[in-house]
Symmetry: C2
C-alpha cells in the first residue's frame, strides 16, 4: 500500500483526485498490484460538500510528519509556500511530483539536488506540455542522442489567440477577449501573452537537454501582443503561420542559445498545423532527427493525467533516483544573443531602394497594404537585425522566420 | 561495467555500433557512470575492414554462454533464428532488446512471459515508429488513462508514396518506382504497400494498450495498391488527404476493434500533415485526450537510437522487470468487423437517383471525372458498406473516412 497526498485542491488537484478514484485498477496494475491510497488533501479552503471530507487538512505538518506518506503531489502553483513545502518533503525523504512550472524553473536545481541526495524523486512531467508525455520521452531520446534543437508551441492560450486570428480573421484584441470568455485566458493575461509562461517551460526543457540549469531570466522573451491581423495575413500569403515559439539550440561547446519569440513558420513544418489550445514540442536529436510530441498543454484532466503518471512512477521508484535532473553550471552556459542568425520578415513604409541599400539581398513579398513594403531578409544576428531595421523609415513589423 | 552484444550487423546493427562508440559519454551518464561495453557482434558474414574485427563472432553460443553479457540487441530481423536466440537468451536470464516487429507481433506474448518469469526485460521500442519514443510514452500515458483509440501512420514507405501522389501528382506506379529508386521501398514492396508491416505494428500497439495479445492475423488489412491519383484528387477537393492508417479502438467491454486501411482524413487532423517517410501515432486517452508522437519511422540512426535507448534501459533495470507486457487472452478479444461504423467515400458510374435509393442520405462531391458520381455515406458497418456498394453499378472506389 502506497499512501500519497495531494497539496492544493484546485483544477489540477481535483483532477488528480478524480483519476485516482476512477482509475484505481489501472494504477494498481502499474505498480504491480500495490494499491495507491490517497491519505491527505491539503488546502486552506473548506470543501464541505466533498464526498471524502476526512481527507482534507489545512496543516502541512500532517503530511510532513506522517511516515506512511511516501509521495506528495504539489499542485498548488506559485512559488511560496510551494517551495518550502517541497523542500521539507524531499528532505524528509518523500518524493514530490509537480505541475508547477514556475517552481521547477526557479528552484528546480536545488530541489533536484536534494531529491538526489535523499535518493527520492522530484518529478515534473506536468510542468511542460500539460498531459503530453515530454519530460520522460526527451530524457529517453537523450540517452542515445545529443539534442541539437528544441522548438515548441508551449502555451495554449497564445496558440488559441493566434489560431483565431489565422482562421477566423479576428484581431488580437477580439481573439484575446474570446479566449478570456472561454476560460482559456486569465483576466490578467500577461503571463501568457507576454511569453513568460512559455519562457519558463523552454527553460525547463533546455535545462533537461543540456544537463545544466538554464535560468529563464536569461532568455530573451517576446510575447504576441505586437502581432497584428495584417501580419497574420502576410504570413498566409507566404504559405506560413505565426506561432509563439520557445526555442533552444545546443552548441557542441555546451552553450545554449534560447529565446521566446513569435515566429513565421512555413506550412511544411509539423508545428504549423498545431491548432487551438494544443501544444507541440519538436525535438531534434543528432541520431533520431526530428521527433514531435503533441497534445493538450493544459486543462484539468490532461494535466492531472501527467501528475498521476508521475505519482505512479514515484511509487515504483521509491528510494531509487530516476536521474532526471540538471546541475548548476560553474559559469554561464548561455550563448550570446548574436550567436545565432534568423531570417526576418519586415514590414516598413520605406521604399525598395532603401531596403536593398540597407539589407542587400532580400525577398520581397507582395504588398497587402498600399504604401508599405514587406520582405524577408537573409539570415541576420539579433543585433544586425536591430541595427538595420533602425535605419528604415517607419517599421511596422519585425518577426523572426523559423528555419 | 555492462557488457552487451549486437546480433545482426545490418543497417540497424551498424547504427547501434556507431551510437555506442560515438555517444559513450552520454550512455554512461544515463546509467550512473557505468560504462556500456560492446563485447560481441554476431553475424554470419565477414566484415574484414571493420575497425574492431575481434568483436565479431558467428557463434551464437559465445553470447549465450558468456556470463558477463547481460543485454543483447536482436536486430537481425525475420522470425528464425531470431525467435530461438531471443528465447534462449531470456531463459538464460539476459535481457533482449529488439527492432524486430515481426517477432514481437508473432512471439511477443511468449517472450514477454519468459522475460517476466526470469525477472529480465524484453524491450521493443524500435519495433514501432522507428526512432519515435512511443512504446514507453504510451505505457506511461496508460498509467492514468484508459486508451480509447489509436490511429497511426505506421509505414513510411506507403506514406512517401501517397505523399508523392498528393504533392507531386504522380501515379501510384510512378511513386512506387521513385520510392524504390530512393531506397525507401524494397524491390519486393508487398510487405509495405499491402499493409502487412503496418498491421504488425498496430497489433503491437493494440496488445500493449489492451494488455492482451492482439493477433495480427485477426486484423483486416488493406494496403494502398488500389488507391489512384483520381482518389487523391477527390480527397483534395474535400480538403482531405488519403493516408494508410493502422487503427484500433478499445471498448469498455475489453474488446478490440482493429483494421489497417487507407482512409480519407480531413486536413484539420494532425495526422493529415505527416509527410514523406515520417510516421505519427495519435493516441486518445480518456483523461489526456489526443496526444500524438511524430518522427522518422525508419532509417539507420533513428531506429538504432531507439534500440540503444532500450539497451540503456535494460542495463538500468537488470533483474527488475519494466512490466511492459501483455498476456494471452482466454477467449478472443477482437470485436466483430461490424461493431464499428465509418463513413465511406465512394465513386461509381451509377446515377444519383440509384445512389440515394441504396444509401439514403449522402453527401455528394463535385465530379472531377465526367460520367461518374462521388459521394460520402452516412456511418455504416463494414458489411452494410459492402452490401450497399455491391448494389451499385461500376464501383470505382470505396474508402473509409476517418472520424
Amino acid at each position: 500500500m502506497a499512501k500519497v497526498a495531494i497539496m492544493g485542491y484546485g483544477t489540477v488537484g481535483s483532477g488528480v483526485y478524480d483519476i485516482i478514484k476512477n482509475n484505481a485498477d489501472h494504477l494498481s496494475r502499474s505498480v504491480d498490484g500495490e494499491k495507491i491510497e490517497l491519505k491527505y488533501i491539503l488546502d486552506i479552503r473548506d470543501f464541505p460538500d466533498h464526498p471524502e471530507p476526512n481527507l482534507f487538512t489545512k496543516e502541512f505538518n500532517d503530511i510532513l510528519n506522517d511516515g506512511e506518506v511516501t509521495v506528495a503531489a504539489e499542485v498548488m502553483g506559485g512559488l511560496h509556500p510551494a517551495y518550502e513545502f517541497t523542500k521539507a518533503l524531499l528532505e524528509a525523504g518523500k518524493s514530490v511530483v509537480t505541475s508547477n512550472k514556475e517552481l521547477v524553473a526557479t528552484y528546480g536545481t536545488e530541489l533536484l539536488e536534494i531529491a538526489r541526495e535523499k535518493n527520492v524523486n522530484y518529478l515534473f512531467e506536468a510542468s511542460v506540455g500539460g498531459g503530453i508525455p515530454i519530460i520522460r520521452p526527451m530524457h529517453q531520446c537523450l540517452t542515445a542522442n545529443n539534442i541539437v534543437k528544441i522548438a515548441g508551441i508551449l502555451n495554449g492560450t497564445t496558440n488559441y489567440i493566434l489560431d483565431q486570428m489565422i482562421r477566423k480573421g479576428k484581431t488580437f484584441e477580439t481573439a484575446l477577449k474570446d479566449a478570456q470568455a472561454k476560460g482559456f485566458a486569465e483576466r490578467n493575461p500577461a503571463a501568457d501573452i507576454e511569453g513568460h509562461d512559455a519562457c519558463r517551460k523552454i527553460a525547463i526543457l533546455a535545462s533537461l537537454a543540456s544537463g545544466k540549469f538554464v535560468d529563464y531570466s536569461d532568455i530573451d522573451t517576446e510575447g504576441i501582443t505586437a502581432v497584428t491581423l495584417d501580419d497574420v495575413k502576410y504570413a498566409a500569403a507566404m504559405d506560413s503561420v505565426i506561432k509563439l515559439i520557445g526555442y533552444a539550440e545546443f552548441g557542441e561547446d555546451g552553450k545554449v542559445y534560447s529565446i521566446v519569440s513569435p515566429m513565421v513558420i512555413k506550412s511544411d513544418s509539423p508545428l504549423s498545423g498545431v491548432d487551438g489550445v494544443f501544444n507541440a514540442i519538436l525535438v531534434t536529436g543528432d541520431c533520431v532527427g526530428d521527433v514531435m510530441f503533441y497534445g493538450k498543454g493544459a486543462g484539468k484532466l490532461p494535466t492531472a493525467s501527467a501528475v498521476t503518471a508521475d505519482i505512479v512512477d514515484a511509487v515504483k521508484h521509491r528510494e531509487r533516483s530516476k536521474k532526471i535532473f540538471w546541475e548548476k553550471p560553474s559559469g554561464t552556459i548561455m550563448a550570446g544573443k548574436d550567436s545565432r542568425k534568423f531570417r526576418y520578415f519586415i514590414r516598413t513604409n520605406d521604399n525598395a531602394e532603401n531596403i536593398r541599400g540597407i539589407f542587400g539581398k532580400c525577398e520581397f513579398v507582395d504588398n497587402l497594404i498600399s504604401g508599405e513594403s514587406a520582405f524577408v531578409t537573409e539570415p541576420l544576428t539579433s543585433s544586425e537585425a536591430e541595427d538595420k531595421t533602425a535605419r528604415l523609415r517607419d517599421v511596422v513589423t519585425k518577426l523572426r522566420v523559423m528555419a
